[in-house]
């Protein structure tokens, strides 16, 4: 393993958002935005991607912290995963997100890794990460979806040339909580629903989110719609620390008199985007919250799945996680 330096880049450290927006506009695709750096630096060290300029966002105070708003919470994109895990505001109202944040990577990574970075991180397919010229890297082949390709971690749904999955643990929680993403660029601000923030290869194979080169994700808003709901989060990974989810599940439901009145349930690690399990939602809405409903829900979760050579195990894994979410939440 080499202990070398990253290739040289220029480093900019703006202290306010307008300065950062000027820089991302000036550098466009040549400017690499860094917050926690836990995704970024590996790309540069491995020479799998290169950049002329690095824009350090961490000095922008207006992108930090958790605020209560009239109809929910606003979380600055630079808020670390540890801060989210420990925030009493988030634990009280949206324990689902605190739980998801607590399962990301390792303590050291959560101490610097940000919520904005966690939802904006790039695909973790190792062929892509290894710098191979796959579709996602602008090439014309997929190395994972071949007879010999190692695709144990890859997708069950929505493959379109690329079979990478959404690696984030917080993303399914944010979609389940009906959060929205606040994005700024030189033209102003736009707010995108979390569900629409993540995009699959059929929309743009070289991006995981709607963020363009000159955009900065500045905050995440969570409405009170699902505050203090009944939550369930579970992540299954090879190791408890570091590893990305093979499958994770995030559910928010309103249960009254033993009946599931409303629910949003989302799985990560099975599609390029956090997969909202609408079929499951329709199956369980209005049903009693019990083992029978849970079993039915689990069986419906994998409808339409197309496994690859080495990831068939994700089908029962997804089904069982959905079953547990309905039964144990």
């Amino acid at each position: 393993m080499s202990k070398d330096m990253m290739p040289m880049f220029e480093l900019f450290q703006p202290t306010d958002l307008s300065g950062a927006l000027d820089l991302v506009e000036r550098y466009g695709a040549d400017g690499w935005k860094v917050a926690g750096g836990q995704d970024s630096l590996d790309w540069l060290k491995d020479r799998a991607k290169r950049t002329k300029a690095v824009i350090d966002l961490t000095r922008i105070a207006e992108m930090k912290g958790i605020r209560e708003t009239a109809d929910g919470l606003e979380i600055g994109a630079l808020t670390t995963l540890t801060e989210i895990e420990e925030s009493s505001l988030i634990r009280e109202k949206f324990a689902l997100l605190a739980g998801a944040a607590s399962r990301v990577a390792s303590p050291q990574i959560r101490n610097v890794g940000t919520i904005g970075g966690n939802v904006s991180q790039d695909a973790r397919c190792w062929y892509y990460r290894g710098g191979m010229d796959c579709y996602r890297a602008g090439g014309s082949t997929c190395y994972a979806d071949t007879p010999q390709g190692m695709n144990r971690e890859h997708c069950l749904f929505g493959a379109d040339r690329c079979v990478a999955v959404s690696p984030s643990d917080t993303a399914p929680a944010l979609v389940a909580l009906d959060a929205s993403m606040v994005i700024q660029n030189a033209d102003g601000e736009r707010v995108v629903a979390a569900e629409d923030f993540f995009i699959g290869p059929q929309v743009d194979i070289e991006r995981m989110t709607v963020l363009q080169a000159d955009d900065i994700l500045t905050a995440i808003r969570i409405p009170n719609t699902w505050a203090n709901a009944t939550f369930y989060f579970e992540k299954v990974a090879d190791r408890k620390t570091w590893d990305f989810a093979l499958v994770n599940i995030a559910a928010a439901m309103r249960v009254s008199g033993g009946t599931i009145e409303d629910i949003r349930i989302v799985a990560g690690g099975v599609e390029c985007v956090p997969r909202r399990l609408s079929v499951v939602e329709n199956v369980v809405k209005g049903s009693a919250k019990n083992a029978d409903t849970a079993k039915l829900a689990g069986g419906s979760a994998s409808r339409g799945a197309i496994p690859l050579n080495y990831n068939q195990f994700k089908i029962p894994l997804l089904e069982n996680l959905v079953m547990r979410a309905i039964r144990d939440a």
Binding site: P7, A53, T58, P107, T241, W242
Partner: protein
């Protein structure tokens, strides 16, 4: 006669002929041992840290990139202000080990996947291999070297790690200890599970995890 700076007695390295005097020392490809022995024998003094980076690609002076300028930073390391020239693409682990000589912080995977390089910044554990030094700013950095007492005595946590035979090979130990420091300062009486969680970002390839946890629990009893 060669340029005296480049003449290294006892080594098999010759000077680089085409290099300008004073800079060519950077181009030497020597084993570190031969080079350091040569420096000692000749009495030459390398005032710059550059020789330590000489074998590291991406940082050699013959391939400057845009912005390849060291800037002087004042870092707060172990309670002291350390002034050091830092490149934009330099990680904190590089600065600590190769510019400040604080080699107690280990570099292993260099990818944030092992924990050997763990340091404590403002009370939180951080992988120094995955932190740009320029992003540290004025925050308080603590390394394993900062634990010793005024007369060089071991920190109680270090003593507990010795008493419980925590380390086997010892390479991951500085990182394990720094994670323990951050844990016990925030939570002086952790449960074993809390300790396990706090040290979960530090790999031990010897598998001495239970010994490490015994050490943490002993240190917590003493605290």
């Amino acid at each position: 006669m060669k340029d005296p700076i480049l003449y290294i007695p006892g080594s098999d390295i010759a000077a680089v002929d085409d290099a300008a005097p004073g800079t060519s020392v950077l181009r030497i490809r020597a084993s570190r041992r031969a080079f350091i022995k040569g420096i000692i024998a000749s009495g030459a003094v390398a005032g710059s840290s550059a020789f330590l980076f000489g074998g590291l690609t991406g940082c050699a002076p013959d391939q400057p990139g845009a912005g390849a300028v060291e800037r002087l930073l004042s870092l707060n390391i172990n309670g002291k202000v350390r002034r050091v020239d830092v490149l934009p693409n330099e990680t904190l682990a590089m600065t600590l080990r190769y510019k400040l000589g604080l080699t107690g912080t280990k570099l292993s995977c260099d990818r944030g996947e092992c924990g050997a390089c763990t340091v404590v910044i403002d009370g939180r554990t951080v992988y120094s291999c995955s932190t740009l030094t320029h992003m540290v700013g004025q925050r308080e950095v603590r390394t394993i070297e900062g634990l010793e007492g005024p007369n060089g005595e071991l920190h109680p946590i270090q003593q507990a790690f010795i008493d419980e035979l925590g380390p086997q090979c010892g390479f991951c130990t500085p990182g394990q200890i720094m994670s323990t420091v951050a844990l016990l300062e925030a939570n002086p009486k952790p449960t074993r599970d809390q300790a396990r969680h706090a040290l979960s970002g530090n790999l031990c390839r010897c598998g001495a995890y239970d010994h490490y946890l015994n050490s943490v629990m002993r240190a917590a009893q003493g605290a």
